[in-house]
Each structure stands twice: as structure tokens, then as C-alpha cells.
């Protein structure tokens, strides 16, 4: 938690001024009972109306000043906590952006989203409370005790007993009930799990006519939730009555011993009333402290999650001396055309945190302008393989070269700038279709966009949409069909006119006619582009210049369709099994 405290130094003013004014307000609040005591003891006893009015005015003034001070403090708290949250959010998001695929895998999207939203909000709340209450509540407790000591040292012993007693009760009840809340959350997760299972499995459940069984299963889980909630309710129901009872009994004790002290002449009637007031203040402040403990415990957990992300360092780094002035064209000019454009040399790869190789002993060359097909079953390593080319991961062993230069020697943006990638999942972003097409190339002209849509076989349907390419994408593209989304993601990669186009199983939602037309258009329009098509369908890659067959992370064969069909058993099996 303290590591994040460094952000507070930008809000020094607020962090000092806020609590200071809060303190003043609290002091004023402590003076009020004293003034009231003097009204009773002097004003009423001496029948001095002017005195009463004067002191009453002071109480009003104290209240008004207290209001002003409180407002200053609240404003400081709002500025500091919101500012703190905003800065941490920006820095954290920038940091997440610097992480490479390996760290993203380790952290997981869900965690990152929770950290960036909930955890930072939790910290923000803690900062606000720090300014608003951390000074006030303990000060009120200590102040009330000190004031009572000044009034009457002997009688103040009651406070020294009551304060720890109330804290003890609060602590005990919280300690007993908090673990239950965690259990309840787990039980509730079970309820949502069964609901989710029943929604996704509705067909199977009905096919087996198991509805009643599922209802029983749900009711059992639901009973558990209710039982635990009632149990925890029984415990936390003690909180209010217990503090209420302790406080009021303490007031009774004050009355009794106060009576004796007044009789002795060491205390006045007004001061006894002041004592009871302080008692009320203490008990209210203690409840606040209990809440603060909860808030700060939560904030500490959030802070440690935030720090965990901050501590994660990107594993992929640019070399200190990267070839910044490199141009791929240079090599062509130098007559380097005999060198393969992309080459992999004895590449091995294992995902971080695993020791099993996902790719083993991969070597092949790709020439400029070739169309390459990569085929194999799930888990055979197709997507992993293409992730190594733009250096989303570094190979564990072996070298990946582009233009004869190891990918590690390129500046990362320069390297990735050569690629146009169409991912497996056709993800579109919010915004218009044109906005989406500009993700790769911010300044793409309408002509470039139209051309890309044309090649991707998307121009017709986009133009038929009511607003053409200005049509807005809803909810990740719900308003488009799977095939339409896929064609737009292909167009998105084409807008950049990339040197290397990677299509990672990107034809799966296309019918076979569109699939064929699209491949034809690519052949005609992107002659200089090296195209790498990953697919499960033999038909899609059948006409490639070179087909790489992967099986369980190893190369099972490389060659043209006809050769492979004869020589490679894995390939033949795939071809023979398919018609769809």
C-alpha cells in the first residue's frame, strides 16, 4: 500500500490542508458540549439571559465555522482522491500496454480489468477516507477522553474502560462474521455457475428431461446461500444492540458517580451533561473507526494486486542498439533477393511457465510474394507459430529472421509495421466501420478503405448498409453476421497494404464461394504481399505455393498439395475427412 503512496506527493497541499481543517472542525465539535455546560451552570443558575444568548451565539458560530472547515476538507479529499485514482489509472494502463503477450497470459484479462477498475476505485475510496476520517475519528475519541479528564480525572476512568470495550466488541463481531461473507460469496458463485450451466446446456438438459433434477440441484445450492446468510445475520445483528447497550450503560454509570461527584462539589450539573455528550461522541467515532478498518483492509488487498501488475516487467525488450535506419527495400536493392524473406532456423518454443515445447525443431523458408498455407489440428501449434513472426513471443531456442535479420534486432514498431494480421476471432471495436478499418492505418483515405473492402469481398454489403462505412458497430459487431465481421477484419489488415499478411483461420465463417473469390482477389491484388494462411480446411490452402503441415508442434510435411497428399499421411487424413 505504501508503494502507491508516492502518488500522494502530487497532492501534498490537499493531504495537509484537508486533515488540518478536519481537525479544527473536530476541535470545535468538542468545545460545543463545554459551552452548553457553561450555559446550564452559569446562565441558568444566575438567570443571565444575555449570557445564554451570547454563548448560544458561540455555538452557532462554532457550527458555522465547522461547516466551512468541513467543506474545505471534503473538497481537498475529492481532489486528492480523484486525482490519485486518475494518475494511477493512467500509469497502470500505460504499464499494461508495455507488457508483452507472455505477461498478459500470466495475468489474464479478467484480472487486469478488475485491477484497473475495482481495485483502483477501492484505493481512491481509501485516500478520501484517509483525508476525511483517519484524523477525525481517532482525534474525537482521544479528544473526548482528554476533555473528560480535564473535567474530572476520576470520572474519566469510565471512558478508559468503555472505549476498549466497544472496540473489542466491534472487533469480535467483525472477526466472526467476515469469514462467513467470503463463504457466502463462494456459495453465491455456485448459484451463478448452475444458472450458467443450465443456460448453456438447455438443449442437453431437456433432451434428457432432467429439468426436475436441475431444479433440485439449484435449490440445494440456494438453500446453502440462505442458511449461511441467516447465520451471518445472527452474528452481525449483535453489532448495533451491543454498542448501544454498552454506551448507555456507561451513561448510567456516569450519572451515578457523577451524582456522587456533584454532591461532593467537585463537578457541576452542566459538566455531568457534557460527560454524557462526550460518551455519545466516542461511541459514534468508534463505529467509524470500525468501518475504516474494513475499508483499509480491502484497500491493502487492492494495493497489493495493483502493485503486482506494476512489478510485472515486459519480457520482450528492444535491443539497445537496434537498426533504426533499416529498410527492407535496401536488401532488394542490394541484390539480396536470393536470401529468403522469412526464415526459421531450428526454432523451439515453450509458453512461459510451462516446460513442454509447443513448437519443436521448426525450420523453413518463405520467399517474398509467396502464398503459404499452414494446416494442422487444434493444439498442433499453428497460431503459436505465427505469433513468433511479429515477435509477440520470443523463440525459446533458434532464430526467426526476416530479410536475413533476426527479429530481435528490429525496433518493435518497425517489425510489426510490416504485418497485417487477421486474428481467429473476428473482433471489431466500437465506432464506425471506417474507424475500424483505420486501426492499422490512422490516416487511411476513403479510396484505400474502399479498395480494402473490395478485396475482402465486403464492399457490396457495406455499401448496402444504411450508412455505408459510417455504419456504427454495436456491441462488438452484433449487427453484422459472423461472415461479414470476418470480412471486415480482413479488410482492416489490407488497408495497410502490408508486406506480410497473416490470416489466422480467418475464413471459417465464409461460405465456400466467398472463400474462393476472396483468395482469387488476394492473388490478383496483392502480388507483392507474402500471404500466410492458417486453416483447418484443406480446401482453403490447397492452392498455396507451399503448405506447412503441423502435427503436435512438429512439422509433418512441407510442400505443394499434390506432393503432400501423396507423401504426408497427416495431410492425407485431413483432406480425406473433410466436406462441409
Amino acid at each position: 500500500m505504501f508503494k502507491l503512496a508516492r502518488y500522494l506527493k502530487y497532492f501534498k497541499k490537499e493531504v495537509i490542508i484537508g486533515p488540518f481543517f478536519k481537525l479544527l472542525e473536530a476541535i470545535f465539535e468538542l468545545i460545543v458540549p463545554l459551552v452548553m455546560a457553561s450555559i446550564i451552570d452559569n446562565g441558568i443558575k444566575n438567570k443571565d439571559t444575555a449570557y445564554v444568548l451570547q454563548k448560544g451565539g458561540i455555538i452557532l458560530l462554532l457550527g458555522f465555522m465547522g461547516l466551512i472547515f468541513a467543506l474545505i476538507c471534503q473538497y481537498c479529499a475529492a481532489r486528492a482522491s480523484q486525482g490519485f485514482g486518475t494518475m494511477v489509472r493512467n500509469d497502470l494502463y500505460a504499464h499494461i500496454n508495455s507488457l508483452s503477450h507472455a505477461e498478459l497470459d500470466l495475468l489474464g484479462t479478467d484480472t487486469l480489468i478488475t485491477v484497473l477498475t475495482n481495485d483502483i476505485n477501492q484505493m481512491q475510496l481509501a485516500v478520501a477516507m484517509l483525508i476525511r476520517l483517519v484524523v477525525r475519528a481517532p482525534f474525537l475519541i482521544i479528544g473526548a477522553i482528554v476533555m473528560s479528564m480535564i473535567l474530572d480525572l476520576k470520572l474519566s476512568v469510565i471512558f478508559l474502560i468503555v472505549a476498549p470495550l466497544v472496540s473489542g466488541v466491534l472487533y469480535l463481531i467483525m472477526e466472526k462474521s467476515v469469514p462467513y461473507y467470503r463463504v457466502r460469496q463462494k456459495m453465491l458463485d455456485k448459484v451463478s455457475l448452475i444458472t450458467r450451466e443450465n443456460l448453456s446446456g438447455a438443449r442437453v438438459i431437456r433432451a434428457f428431461s432432467k429439468q426436475e433434477h436441475e431444479v433440485e440441484r439449484f435449490e440445494k445450492a440456494n438453500d446453502d446461500v440462505a442458511d449461511i446468510a441467516i447465520n451471518v445475520g445472527k452474528i452481525s445483528a449483535f453489532l448495533n444492540p451491543a454498542t448501544f447497550a454498552i454506551l448507555n450503560i456507561a451513561i448510567l454509570v456516569i450519572l451515578w458517580f457523577g451524582g456522587i461527584r456533584v454532591d461532593e462539589g467537585s463537578l457541576t450539573q452542566g459538566e455531568v451533561i457534557a460527560f454524557t455528550n462526550y460518551m455519545t461522541q466516542i461511541s459514534l467515532a468508534l463505529v467509524v473507526v470500525a468501518n475504516l478498518v474494513v475499508i483499509f483492509t480491502k484497500a491493502a488487498a487492492s494495493a497489493s494486486r495493483i502493485n503486482k501488475v506494476f512489478e510485472m516487467m515486459p519480457s520482450l525488450k528492444e535491443k539497445e542498439k537496434v537498426m533504426t535506419d533499416m529498410h527492407t527495400d535496401d536488401h532488394k536493392d542490394n541484390g539480396d533477393t536470393d536470401k529468403p524473406f522469412i526464415s526459421l532456423d531450428d526454432v523451439f518454443f515453450a509458453y512461459p511457465g510451462t516446460d513442454k515445447y509447443a513448437l519443436e525443431d521448426i525450420s523453413f523458408d518463405i520467399n517474398k510474394g509467396e502464398v503459404i498455407g499452414i494446416i494442422g489440428g487444434t493444439g498442433s501449434g499453428k497460431s503459436t507459430l505465427i505469433n513468433l513472426l511479429p515477435r509477440f513471443y520470443d523463440a525459446s531456442k533458434g532464430t526467426v529472421r526476416i530479410n536475413g535479420i533476426p527479429v530481435q534486432d528490429y525496433p518493435i514498431n518497425r517489425l510489426r509495421g510490416m504485418f497485417g494480421i487477421v486474428p481467429q476471432k473476428a473482433v471489431l471495436f466500437s465506432g464506425s466501420i471506417a474507424d475500424n478499418l483505420r486501426y492499422y492505418k490512422e490516416d487511411a483515405t476513403i479510396e484505400e478503405i474502399k479498395r480494402a473492402l473490395e478485396i475482402a469481398q465486403a464492399r457490396d454489403f457495406v455499401e448496402r448498409l444504411p450508412q455505408g462505412h459510417d455504419t456504427l458497430i454495436n456491441q462488438g459487431g452484433r449487427n453484422l453476421s459472423g461472415g461479414q465481421r470476418q470480412r471486415i477484419t480482413i479488410a482492416r489488415a489490407l488497408v495497410r497494404n502490408p508486406e506480410i499478411l497473416i490470416l489466422d483461420d480467418s475464413f471459417s465463417a465464409l461460405d465456400y464461394v466467398t472463400d474462393a473469390n476472396l483468395r482469387q482477389a488476394l492473388r490478383e491484388n496483392c502480388k507483392d504481399t507474402t500471404v500466410i494462411i492458417v486453416s483447418q480446411r484443406a480446401n482453403t490452402i490447397k492452392n498455396a505455393d507451399k503448405i506447412i503441415v503441423l502435427d503436435d508442434g512438429k512439422i509433418a510435411g512441407i510442400g505443394k498439395h499434390d506432393e503432400l497428399y501423396k507423401s504426408c499421411q497427416v495431410y492425407r487424413e485431413i483432406c480425406d475427412s473433410q466436406i462441409s
Binding site: 472542525e25 460545543v32 450555559i39 446550564i40 441558568i44 438567570k47 445564554v52 448560544g56 457550527g63 461547516l67 468541513a70 475529492a78 481532489r79 482522491s81 480523484q82 486525482g83 485514482g85 486518475t86 489509472r89 494502463y93 500505460a94 499494461i96 500496454n97 487486469l112 477498475t117 450458467r196 450451466e197 443456460l199 428431461s209 431444479v215 439449484f218 440456494n222 446461500v225 440462505a226 446468510a229 445475520g233 445472527k234 452481525s236 448495533n240 444492540p241 448501544f244 448507555n248 451515578w256 451524582g259 456533584v262 454524557t276 489440428g377 487444434t378 498442433s380 510489426r416 473482433v427 471495436f429 453476421s481 465463417a509 465456400y512 474462393a516 480446401n539 498439395h561 466436406i579 462441409s580
Partner: protein, 585 residues
């Protein structure tokens, strides 16, 4: 607004009807609240009396003091006990009602037409099931007792003040509108800023979801810098709005404290002057001061409760929307004892998901016992629709489907569905052991039957290799198994019940070659002698079928055997040759 109020009242009424079975607890909570509030309100009166017994040295009435203290002690104990019983009763009503609500929603989900489940985003349903119902419990049910005790406190306080000293009581009442005015002024301001903040927060959440959810994609675009810019822009707006929203909302406490102070000062001044004139004792002044000290508190609480109430009502409405879904037509009166003989007949069947776009039109099919029907066609051509109709997951619009010569609308759904064994491409497993998952269709299956079914579906060998064999717990709908393994388990599940007819959806891809061979063998064994409908992707399945239905754009455009269809040189011919070279065929 009035329409809104009316529907709110309807929602509230229904909610109360759910709490009705626990009326005893409700009565308990209300009575407890009344007693505990009353007793705690009496305390300041007695505090005042006690103070009057302690005037100055020599003027302390110990007998009176001890008597008052004993009374007060009794009140304190009584009030504490009833505070506890109030919480206890509220808890019971709340959690039992919530439990019943959840059960009703869940039961409804199991009897609504499948169409509803297909059309509604599952996230929304789960959200209502978990979060909305929790909001209802927090806001409406817990809020109810708070509201009740708040109102009781205000009424009680006013009454007691008037009875002690009507003049001063009126003075306090006159100050009440002030506190209401301040509260409403702040809450209106806050509400506006909060709505704005909620909007920006929503935008921020959407952006985060979109950017972080696709972080790897962002990196393929080298879009990081622009993403950060967009993020910072929204974050800055959130910051500006957030500071004001937080500031306004944090005004409530200091402002009401100030109003309270004014009441306190006014009571102090007026009280002291009355005391000087002899119309009020010091003790009575003390009672007044205690009341004044806590007078605005219930107002604050009630304002808080009302906002919670509103969001709880909105949640409750969503819950009742689910509960009110129209269930499938009842079939309890229909015959259940029909045996499958393997005959299936479709006669002039019409069906569409959406009345404007006709899908299946005039479909006729006569399936003889034991024959294999292969359904082929491009993705999205409506192959699954046929399965939906055969299983009566959806009702046909026109025409007739007969099984064993009986109209499927004239038998119980469970009878029809028990005739088929179904294996879908989207396999479904639930959280439970492998054994429980296989025995899903036959709970009383013996260990031997289960193992035999697993062996027959080639699942036994991989199950044995799992960490705990048949007792391995399947997590998150099967995340710890490969897709092929999941499909083998669903086949074993069907193998165990030995259904008279089959509906199979072949997996298109994503399965390694060895598992795929096992699945094919398992399918083949399952189909022996049974009428089977197969959504087919494999050449061998198609070639061996007795009848191939070729579907495109929701319609069956050709039917016949493999040879017949090839001779026709139609769609099937094109489909077939687009996929394979002449050399391969």
C-alpha cells in the same frame, strides 16, 4: 411518472406477496422495531429526570437517582433485545424471500421455450439471478425496517418533545423543513453529477473492456499509443466530473451536521431562557438536547433508504420480467407411453425463427426404421434447425411431424425426447465428476454399466489417465478436458441409455486425428440398427448414409443418396467438388 408509480406499486405488491409466507417474521420485525424505538426514545426523558436529581452539592437525591437509573437500565436492555430480534426477523424474511425468488426464476428458466434462452444474452439472466436479486434484498427488504424505524423515531421524538414542552417542541418542528430543504438541495445536485459520472464510468468501463479484452490485438496493430491517448482522454473527463460528484455527495454529512447544530443551539438558547423563567427544568433541557442531537439522523437515513429503494424496484422489475416469461404449453395430459419403432415422418413442415424471413418450407421426409439420414450444407444453412424441430425444442408453424405414427405434438415432450440420444458439437458437461456426467441420463446406473459405456465410446482409456479417474471433477463446463474428450464423454452418456434413435452433430474440427478416429468408431457403434440423423462433415459418414439432405439457406434443396445426388450435378455436386480434387475422389 404516474405510470411509473403505478408499476412500482405493482412490483412492490408482488414482492410483498413473496414475503407473505414469512408474515410472522414481518410482524415480529415491525413489533420489535416499535418497542425498541419507543424504549430508546424514553431514555432521554429519564436522563433529564436523573439530571434533575443532581443539582449541586448537598442537593443530590440518591434514591430518585437510583430508581431512574434502574428504569433506564431496563429500557436499555429491552431496547437492545428488541433491536436484535428486529434484525433477526428482517434477516429471515429477506433471505427466505430471496431464496424463493431465485428458485422461481430458476424453475421458470427450465420451462420456458428454448427460443427465450437462445435469444436472451445469458450474461443478463445470470446478472438478474445474482446481482439484481441481491439488490432487492439489500434495498427493499432491509430498507423497509430502516424506513419503518426511522419514521417511528421521528414521530416518537416529536411526540415526546411536544409532551415535555409544547413551545420548544414546535420550535424544533419548525426547523425540520430546513433540514429537508438542505437534504433535497444536495441530493438534486449530487444526482445530476452522479448521472454524469455514471455515464462516463460506463464509457470508461466499455473502453477498458474493449481495449484490455483485446490487448493482444491492440499489440498487433501497434495501437498502444493511440489506445493510451483515448484512455487518458476519458480518464480526464472522469476526473473532472468525479471531483465534483464526490464533493457534492460528501456535502450531506457536514450540512446536516450544521443543521443539527442549529437545532441544538436553538434548543439550548430557548431552553435556557425557559429554564431561567422557570418553565423548564435543567433535566428537561437535557432531554431536549439529546433529542436535538439525534433529530436529523433519521432524516438522513430515510433519504438514503429512498434512493436504495428506487434501484431495488428497478432490479425487482427485471426479476419479475423473468418470472413472468410465458412457459411452454403444458403437456401433462398427453400420453407418455409411446414406444419408438424407428419411424419418423415429416409432412408439409413449415418453420421460421422470424415470421418475416421464411426458413423451412414444405419439408417432407419419410424415414424408415434403422436408416441413416445425413444432413449436409454450408455453415449457417439451417442444419441445426432440423434438430431443433425433431427434438421439439422449437414448435413447427405448420404441418406435422410424426414419430412411430404419432404426432409429436400429441405426446409428452419428455416421451419424445427420451426416444432420441443426442450428441451435439457444442458438448455440454456440468461441474461434477466424470462418473456423474456419464450417468446423467441414468442416475441409478451401476459402476459396471458406466465403465462399459465409457469403453464402448473409447473414453475409458483417457478417463483412466485423468488424475482421479472416474472421480475427476470437471471444472468450468469441461475446461480441463480437450474438445475431443468432451465429445467422447457426451457419446458415453448417450451410450449408457441406449436410446432407440439418434441425433448426432459431427465435430467439424478442433480434434486431433487420433481422438477423431475414436469418435468415428464410437459413433458407428452407437448407430448400429438405430434410426439416426447426423449433421455430417465427414466423407465416410455421408457416403454410408441412406439418405442425404442437402441444405442451403434454411431449405432442403436436394435429397437422395450420394450417387444419385452426384448424377444430378446440382448443388451437392458443386459442394463436393469444390472441396476435393478429382484425383482424390
Amino acid at each position: 411518472m404516474t405510470a411509473d408509480d403505478k408499476s412500482n406499486r405493482v412490483v412492490l405488491k408482488r414482492l410483498i406477496s413473496y414475503a407473505k409466507p414469512y408474515g410472522m417474521y414481518l410482524a415480529g420485525a415491525v413489533i420489535s422495531a416499535m418497542i425498541s424505538v419507543l424504549l430508546s426514545l424514553l431514555l432521554p426523558v429519564f436522563l433529564g429526570k436523573a439530571v434533575d436529581f443532581i443539582v449541586e452539592p448537598g442537593k443530590v437525591d440518591y434514591d430518585g437517582l437510583i430508581r431512574t437509573i434502574i428504569y433506564m437500565a431496563l429500557f436499555i436492555c429491552g431496547s437492545s433485545v428488541f433491536q436484535w430480534t428486529m434484525s433477526y426477523c428482517t434477516n429471515k424474511i429477506t433471505f427466505y424471500t430471496v431464496k424463493d425468488l431465485r428458485n422461481s426464476v430458476f424453475e421458470k428458466l427450465n420451462i420456458v421455450p428454448l427460443e427465450v434462452i437462445d435469444k436472451t444474452p445469458h450474461g443478463n439472466i445470470i446478472n438478474t439471478m445474482v446481482n439484481d436479486i441481491d439488490t432487492v434484498s439489500d434495498g427493499l427488504l432491509q430498507g423497509f425496517t430502516q424506513l419503518f424505524s426511522g419514521i417511528m423515531t421521528i414521530i416518537g421524538t416529536i411526540g415526546l418533545m411536544l409532551s415535555i414542552n409544547p413551545g420548544m417542541g414546535f420550535a424544533v418542528i419548525l426547523l425540520t423543513p430546513l433540514s429537508l430543504f438542505v437534504a433535497s438541495f444536495i441530493s438534486r445536485r449530487t444526482y445530476r453529477k452522479f448521472t454524469e459520472q455514471t455515464e462516463i464510468k460506463g464509457e470508461m468501463g466499455g473502453l477498458i473492456e474493449e481495449l484490455l479484452g483485446n490487448q493482444k490485438l491492440i499489440k498487433t496493430f501497434s495501437y498502444e499509443d493511440r489506445a493510451l491517448e483515448r484512455f487518458m482522454e476519458v480518464n480526464e473527463r472522469l476526473h473532472e466530473c468525479g471531483v465534483m460528484a464526490q464533493f457534492y455527495s460528501s456535502l450531506t454529512n457536514p450540512c446536516t451536521r450544521f443543521v443539527n447544530n442549529m437545532v441544538y443551539a436553538a434548543v439550548g438558547i430557548l431552553g435556557a431562557i425557559s429554564a431561567i423563567r422557570g418553565r423548564l427544568s435543567v433535566g428537561q433541557l437535557t432531554s431536549f438536547l439529546s433529542y436535538a442531537n439525534q433529530y436529523t439522523k433519521p432524516f438522513n437515513e430515510i433519504t438514503g433508504v429512498i434512493t436504495e429503494f428506487q434501484s431495488a424496484l428497478a432490479s425487482a422489475k427485471r426479476v419479475f420480467d423473468l418470472i413472468d416469461l410465458e412457459p411452454e404449453s403444458s403437456d401433462e395430459h398427453l400420453p407418455a407411453d409411446i414406444l419408438a419403432d424407428g419411424r419418423v415422418r415429416l409432412e408439409n413442415v413449415y418453420f421460421s425463427y422470424d415470421k418475416n424471413t421464411p426458413l423451412i418450407e414444405d419439408l417432407n421426409l419419410d424415414v424408415k426404421p434403422g436408416s441413416r439420414i445425413a444432413i449436409v450444407g454450408p455453415t449457417g444453412s439451417g442444419k441445426t434447425t432440423v434438430i431443433n424441430l425433431l427434438m421439439r425444442f422449437y414448435d413447427i408453424d405448420k404441418g406435422k411431424i410424426e414419430v412411430s405414427g404419432v404426432d409429436i405434438n400429441k405426446m409428452q415432450r419428455r416421451t419424445l425426447r427420451s426416444m432420441y440420444g443426442m450428441v451435439l458439437q457444442d458438448t455440454w458437461l456440468f461441474e461434477g465428476t466424470v462418473r456423474d456426467n456419464i450417468a446423467y441420463g441414468k442416475e441409478d446406473a451401476t459402476e459396471e454399466e458406466i465403465i462399459n459405456a465409457a469403453k464402448a465410446s473409447y473414453a475409458h482409456s483417457f478417463i483412466k489417465r485423468l488424475p482421479n479417474g472416474y472421480d475427476t471433477v470437471i471444472t468450468k463446463e469441461g475446461a480441463n478436458l480437450s474438445q475431443g474428450q468432451r465429445q467422447l464423454l457426451s457419446i458415453a452418456r448417450v451410450m449408457l441409455i441406449k436410446p432407440p434413435m439418434l441425433i448426432l452433430d459431427e465435430a467439424t474440427s478442433n480434434i486431433d486425428t487420433r481422438t477423431e478416429i475414436h469418435i468415428q468408431k464410437a459413433f458407428a457403434r452407437l448407430m448400429e440398427g438405430r434410426t439416426s440423423f447426423i449433421v455430417a462433415h465427414r466423407l465416410s459418414t455421408i457416403k454410408e448414409a441412406d439418405l442425404i439432405l442437402v441444405m442451403n439457406q434454411g431449405r432442403i434443396i436436394e435429397q437422395g443418396t450420394h450417387e444419385e445426388l452426384l448424377k444430378k450435378k446440382g448443388f451437392y455436386h458443386k459442394l463436393y467438388y469444390s472441396q476435393f480434387n478429382n484425383t482424390q475422389v
